[in-house]
């Protein structure tokens, strides 16, 4: 598979994607007398992603995952920060060669029901990116569509069918196929399996893994499900209220979570083993409003390890025990192991 996108001056060692302090601040118009307010949906996210790698982004609703995805796929420009594709500013690439740049990074959406146009048949859904972004002939496009259907495990002759004639899992396969039509190097998947039943979820996870092996795809895999993330991703980024609170190798973070929020997430994730049930330390309270985030550490009001100065000082990301973490007291959280994700022993 040849990549459509090749940047001319990319340093050989440049990562496929580099995000530097990406921010997305939305301005909400005030009411009759109110002032405009700023909602910091994403407030400083940095990472690098190499060929064939998977970075998982986890966190609860409203923490900024989809907003990050929209910036990475160039649907929205960031308020500030840099996004580099193979070492080159994405905006420059987009200006010089928008078609190739769009082909470089593609997105898979959460909802296999809503993301496909019900009035288009599968052949035309899949051919559309080719029509817009390439000069392929009709015959060539049809050939590509049928090849791609076979790749994602659908019958090529079903290209004349409409989305409603497929099951949920099959529709998500169509969405995956569409994202791959332009032979992207990077796929941003926003909760791609969350709406699927368990047995179907396993099929789609396998498909994503197979395609990664075959094409060296890099994934940013957005999910709120830690067990799926643990299975898929080597690297993990945990977000809370628009900020990264912990980032590192999956193995390191899952074995020894250093941020109290990561611990809370893991403790809250139910284990599929009734004989391993135990009293869990549930995190108290609800997510604060992103319009009015707490001062200091954004997690301090829910944190069981919080000390008085946590409400005054904003913790910066720093390296502790081989991963990055934004907590003043990551070195000495008491109550060891309280948050370790319980993975059931195979029966």
């Amino acid at each position: 598979m040849t990549a459509v996108y090749r940047s001319q001056d990319a340093a050989v060692a440049a990562p496929l994607v580099e995000a530097r302090d990406l921010k997305q601040h939305y301005t909400l118009k005030g009411g009759l007398f109110g002032e405009d307010r700023t909602l910091k949906a994403v407030d400083g996210v940095s990472f690098t992603l190499g060929r064939g790698e998977t970075l998982a982004v986890v966190g609860e609703s409203g923490c900024g995952k989809s907003t990050l995805a929209r910036m990475l796929t160039l649907i929205e420009a960031p308020t500030s920060g840099d996004l580099l594709f193979e070492g080159r500013p994405a905006q420059d690439a987009m200006r010089d060669d928008p078609k190739a740049t769009r082909g470089f990074v593609q997105m898979i959406f959460q909802n296999p029901y809503g993301s496909l146009n019900p009035r288009q048949n599968v052949a035309s859904i899949l051919a559309e990116p080719l029509v817009i972004n390439t000069r392929m002939s009709g015959d060539e496009r049809r050939r590509r569509v049928r090849e791609m259907l076979a790749k994602v495990g659908l019958r090529p002759e079903h290209d004349v069918r409409y989305p409603h004639m497929f099951s949920g899992g099959q529709r998500q396969r169509i969405a995956v196929a569409r994202a791959l039509m332009l032979e992207p190097r990077v796929v941003i998947a926003d909760e791609p399996v969350s709406a699927l039943d368990i047995s179907v979820q396993a099929q789609v996870i396998n498909l994503l893994l197979d395609l990664q092996d075959e094409f060296g795809l890099a994934y940013v895999f957005i999910s709120h499900d830690l067990s799926v993330v643990r299975h898929l991703a080597r690297r993990l980024m945990v977000m809370y209220l628009g900020r990264v609170v912990e980032e590192g190798e999956g193995g390191v973070v899952f074995e020894d979570p250093a941020h109290p929020y990561t611990r809370a997430l893991m403790a809250a994730t139910p284990a599929v083993d009734p004989s391993a049930r135990k009293e869990r330390a549930t995190v108290r309270g609800e997510l604060p409003s992103p319009l009015n985030p707490p001062p200091g550490c954004p997690f301090h009001r829910r944190c069981r390890y919080a000390r008085p100065d946590c409400k005054d000082r904003v913790p910066e990301l720093r390296t502790v025990r081989g991963r990055k973490v934004a907590c003043h007291y990551a070195e000495n959280l008491e109550g060891e192991g309280a948050g370790t994700l319980r993975v059931a022993a195979t029966a």
Partner: protein, 331 residues
């Protein structure tokens, strides 16, 4: 005596292509104070089963059952007046979408006071009781919340209010249909804890419906697994997760990423769930089953106690994990 007994329940809907049996052959019993989990994939008939019990299906649905008994009273025979006294008070149900179950036009306090009904309480006493209920389900500053409208509440708070309303009638049985599916995992953990605590402290029976195997593993005492409108396995949660007997239950557990730890590709179940009109007349799972033989393709297996053990029921001619049983008996 069981609190609730359902035997051979079926529900049929008329559709443009003929009658569709959404649910059939459901046998289910719940004891006082017991926690039963009902799991199954989307469309397996979990909600329809419970709506049939509550009498909340649309009138064109046909409900048949050999037995439908709550606390010794035959729900098929009683007057609609008596039925209304049972359903909604003694049996309460929390529905799949919390947002749509609260009326957006009325305050939280008003809705809870309505749920309290007369109960011989005056206005002030009803207000006090409403505050108590909100407090009981873990709503901070309950007095202030009485005047809140549903849109001012988060998803987790709405679900707590729903639970408070359901507790108003002092139910013996609470049916919770996917009560945490729309919630974040830290909030889900809080709500599951709350439900478990209420079940334990009030001696209330609880039926928790979910598609999430981990949620039942974490909470239920006994589990009923549904597939394509039928129960296929029922046993204690520990037994099910350690030694599933039905090939579908076994395959479903294998497909969980938690169980596939260390493997890159996850085991999958071939094929898809049969559609409304192509459900096999013999074993519903046989087209996807690794162990299917001729009997599975011709006859429907009964939902029957396994080796005479009433605590384990399986709808399969060739149940799994038999070796483990032999080993256990030899010990």
């Amino acid at each position: 005596m069981a609190l609730l007994e359902i035997e051979d329940l079926s529900v049929t809907f008329p559709t443009s292509s003929g009658p569709f049996r959404a649910v059939e052959g459901v046998d289910l019993a719940v004891d006082q104070g017991e926690f039963l989990g009902v799991v199954g994939e989307s469309g397996s008939g979990k909600s329809v089963t419970m709506l049939a019990l509550m009498g909340l299906l649309p009138p064109q649905a046909t409900i048949e059952a050999k037995r439908l008994v709550f606390e010794g009273r035959d729900l098929r025979k009683i007057s609609s007046h008596d039925r209304r006294r049972i359903v909604g008070r003694e049996i309460a149900m929390i529905f799949q979408e919390p947002m749509s179950s609260l009326n957006p036009c009325f305050t939280v306090g008003f809705q809870i006071r309505e749920a309290l009904g007369k109960q011989g309480l005056d206005r002030a006493a009803r207000r006090r009781r409403a505050v108590e209920l909100l407090d009981e389900v873990g709503i901070p500053a309950p007095e202030e919340r009485l005047s809140a409208f549903p849109h001012q509440l988060s998803g987790g708070m709405s679900q707590r209010v729903m639970i408070a309303m359901m507790l108003a009638g002092g139910p013996r049985l609470l049916v919770a249909d996917e009560p945490t599916t729309a919630l974040d995992v830290t909030i889900q953990a809080q709500i599951l804890d709350l439900l478990r605590r209420l079940q334990r402290d009030k001696g209330m029976a609880l039926i928790l419906i979910t598609h999430d195997m981990a949620v039942v593993a974490e909470t239920a005492e006994r589990v009923l697994v549904m597939y394509a409108g039928q129960p296929v396995e029922e046993q204690a949660a520990r037994g099910l997760f350690a030694r599933p007997r039905h090939p579908y239950a076994e395959a479903l557990l294998e497909a969980l990423p938690e169980r596939g730890f260390g493997k890159r590709r996850l085991p999958t179940i071939p094929g898809v769930v049969p559609g409304a009109l192509d459900r096999p007349k013999s074993c519903v799972f046989h087209p996807r089953c690794r162990y299917a033989q001729d009997d599975c393709r011709t006859v429907r297996p009964p939902f029957a106690p396994l080796h005479g053990d009433p605590n384990v029921r399986v709808r399969c001619f060739h149940p799994r994990n038999e070796d483990a049983r032999v080993a256990e008996e030899a010990r």
